[in-house]
């Protein structure tokens, strides 16, 4: 789909709402919730770029997130480098892992890629616990420095990174590159028959996806000021997939909306205390059942169709 004027208007409006939200709501707690939501937005968009476009579901996105976050933690805490180096190092380490995992598994068809990514993340989670003298074990690495001092400044920096991520990923997705990725999703065998090096495109898009996940991880680590083995957890990967599904797969902007929406929903549901997860799961079942295309992306398509 070509990007129309209405899309730019929508993107700017969404940015303005996100920029105004902490000013209007004020409290530092809300700023924290929104910063985390934006990090999830980056992760969801980067997941969607690889898996939503090529149809290869990645069940171990947390591998890239954890690797990036620990890279940030080691550089900042163990070696005492400035936190800004994390923004470079985290994506590099994440890309390294994407090559490591992508080469053996992406040439295979079927669910193997998903399973290998899932177990790769689980192996790393166990390794952080086994080598606890370097990684801090269950407690992880503590005492990271924030990127920017007032949390509000860090929020706006994260927002800028999210906007950049969305712009770059959407741009690639709309280029001939993106068309090839969608063609792989449609029919891999035909792509090969047409002379497209399918494996190259899949691995390259996994590398791009990992790089942005790494950026999000660095931002998250320097906001939480702590990294732990939970960043490798399968639950994190699955949460991201849920956000993408709710947002609408393959649209890049939808997953960001899904991430913000579900993070805010979890906060709103705090009122239900112990029934919170029940309600959350019910919402999930409802969406999977009645909105198989997701929530955010189809809604936007409808708005577009009206204004046209």
């Amino acid at each position: 789909m070509a990007i129309l004027l209405i899309d730019w208007v929508g993107a700017v409006l969404a940015l303005l709402v996100l920029a105004a939200a902490p000013l209007a709501l004020g409290s530092s707690y809300i700023i924290g919730v929104l910063t985390v939501a934006l990090c999830f937005g980056i992760w969801a968009a980067s997941w969607d770029f690889m898996s939503g476009l090529t149809g290869r579901e990645n069940f171990g996105h947390s591998l890239f997130i954890g690797a990036g976050a620990y890279a940030a933690g080691f550089l900042n805490v163990t070696f005492g480098l400035s936190p800004w180096w994390s923004l470079l190092a985290a994506p590099l380490v994440a890309v390294f892992f994407s090559i490591l995992m992508g080469f053996p598994t992406l040439r295979l068809k079927g669910p193997y890629f998903a399973l290998a990514m899932l177990s790769g993340a689980a192996v790393m989670q166990n390794l952080t616990i086994i080598f606890s003298e370097y990684t801090g074990g269950q407690d992880g690495l503590n005492g990271l420095e924030p990127l920017l001092d007032p949390p509000l400044a860090q929020y706006y920096f994260t927002l800028a990174c999210l906007a950049l991520t969305a712009l770059v990923l959407k741009f690639i997705a709309n280029s001939p590159w993106g068309t090839i990725l969608r063609a792989i999703r449609g029919d891999e065998a035909s792509c090969q028959a047409a002379g497209i090096n399918v494996t190259f495109y899949k691995i390259a898009s996994l590398m791009i996806s990992a790089a942005f996940a790494g950026v999000g991880a660095a931002l998250y680590a320097h906001y939480q000021l702590q990294v732990g083995p939970d960043l490798f957890a399968v639950v994190l990967s699955i949460n991201i997939i849920i956000m993408v599904y709710v947002g609408g797969m393959g649209s890049i902007y939808g997953p960001i909306g899904g991430a913000v929406l579900l993070n805010v929903l979890t906060e709103v549901l705090r009122g239900f205390s112990e029934y919170r997860l029940w309600v959350y799961t019910l919402v999930l079942i409802f969406i999977v059942f009645f909105m198989p295309q997701g929530l955010v992306a189809p809604l936007w398509r409808r708005i577009r169709a009206v204004t046209r």
Partner: protein, 284 residues
């Protein structure tokens, strides 16, 4: 040495019971069932409720627990999974949602503290210098019994043959008049029942907590990948392999490293021989 042999056998039997059901529902209906671990947890909690609260005799409680969980599995298949079977991601998410709901429901009704289930056999056997509780031996023999029963059922009954036929070629089986929807339901019940039986057998010597289904799910998953997705003999071999290597590493190295065995085995299998030991290559 003997200790490793016996404990490894018990663990392998429990793992095999979990993995067989997991691989069965994948091989037949192509459902990666993330709620499989919650069937195991439900089995343990059902036997706890029926004995400690309803005061039924233990053997009756065990049978009832297995039947109840099997019925629950069929219900889930009919209500939630069947309408979504076109999309594999939707099925994954819905089974995940079921797993979360079950865990939360257990947490809300029973609380987070561990529950105790009485042993079915109270004697402790002394065997070549090793003490082993009767309950562990019961888990071992029960596991072998269930697996043999399943094998006989699959090979020697019309229903079992129909299930095999569907797993080999669903479309051709349908042309032969096998009602695939009903078979999927039965297989889901069967797989849930076997998982529940594993939960019932280990409940006396495992900590019964709401989140107890997660780890077995990961293990079942690993075994099934190592043995080959959809292959029952493969999952039994995989269970023996993983059960023993975990026990050996836990005894000789440390418990922490034993946790990594299953996931590392998955990675190695996927890189070296993705179809697993007994899986058909490029079957899906």
């Amino acid at each position: 040495m003997i200790q490793i042999l016996v404990y490894g056998a018990v663990i392998s039997a429990v793992y095999a019971m979990l993995a067989v059901g997991f691989t069965l529902i994948f091989g037949v209906a192509r459902i990666l069932n993330l709620a499989h671990g919650s069937f195991y947890a439900l089995g343990a909690y059902a036997v706890y409720t029926l004995t400690a609260q309803a005061h039924l005799p233990l053997w009756l409680a065990a049978i009832l627990a297995v039947l109840l969980v099997a019925a629950f599995g069929m219900l889930i298949e009919r209500l939630l999974v069947r309408p979504l079977r076109r999309s594999s991601l939707a099925v994954l998410l819905i089974t995940l949602a079921v797993a979360l709901m079950v865990e939360q429901a257990l947490l809300l009704t029973f609380g987070s503290e561990a529950r105790n289930v009485p042993s079915m056999v109270s004697t402790t056997y002394h065997f070549a210098g090793v003490d082993i509780s009767g309950q562990r031996l019961l888990a071992l023999t029960g596991g072998i019994g269930v697996l043999l029963g399943l094998w006989a059922f699959m090979q020697h009954t019309r229903l079992g043959l129909a299930i095999l036929a569907i797993s080999q070629d669903a479309e051709a089986a349908q042309y032969m008049g096998i009602p695939s929807d009903r078979i999927y339901s039965i297989v889901m019940g069967l797989s849930a029942g076997i998982a529940a039986a594993a939960g019932v057998l280990v409940a006396p010597f495992q900590t019964v907590i709401p989140g107890m289904g997660l780890l077995p799910l990961v293990k079942a998953f690993a075994i099934v990948v190592v043995g080959g997705l959809g292959s029952i003999p493969g999952s039994i071999v995989g269970a023996l392999l993983l059960g023993y290597s975990e026990t050996i590493i836990a005894f000789k190295v440390s418990i922490e490293w034993s946790q990594i065995v299953s996931v590392a085995a998955v990675l190695l299998t996927l890189v070296l021989r993705p179809a697993g030991f007994f899986g058909k290559r490029a079957a899906f």
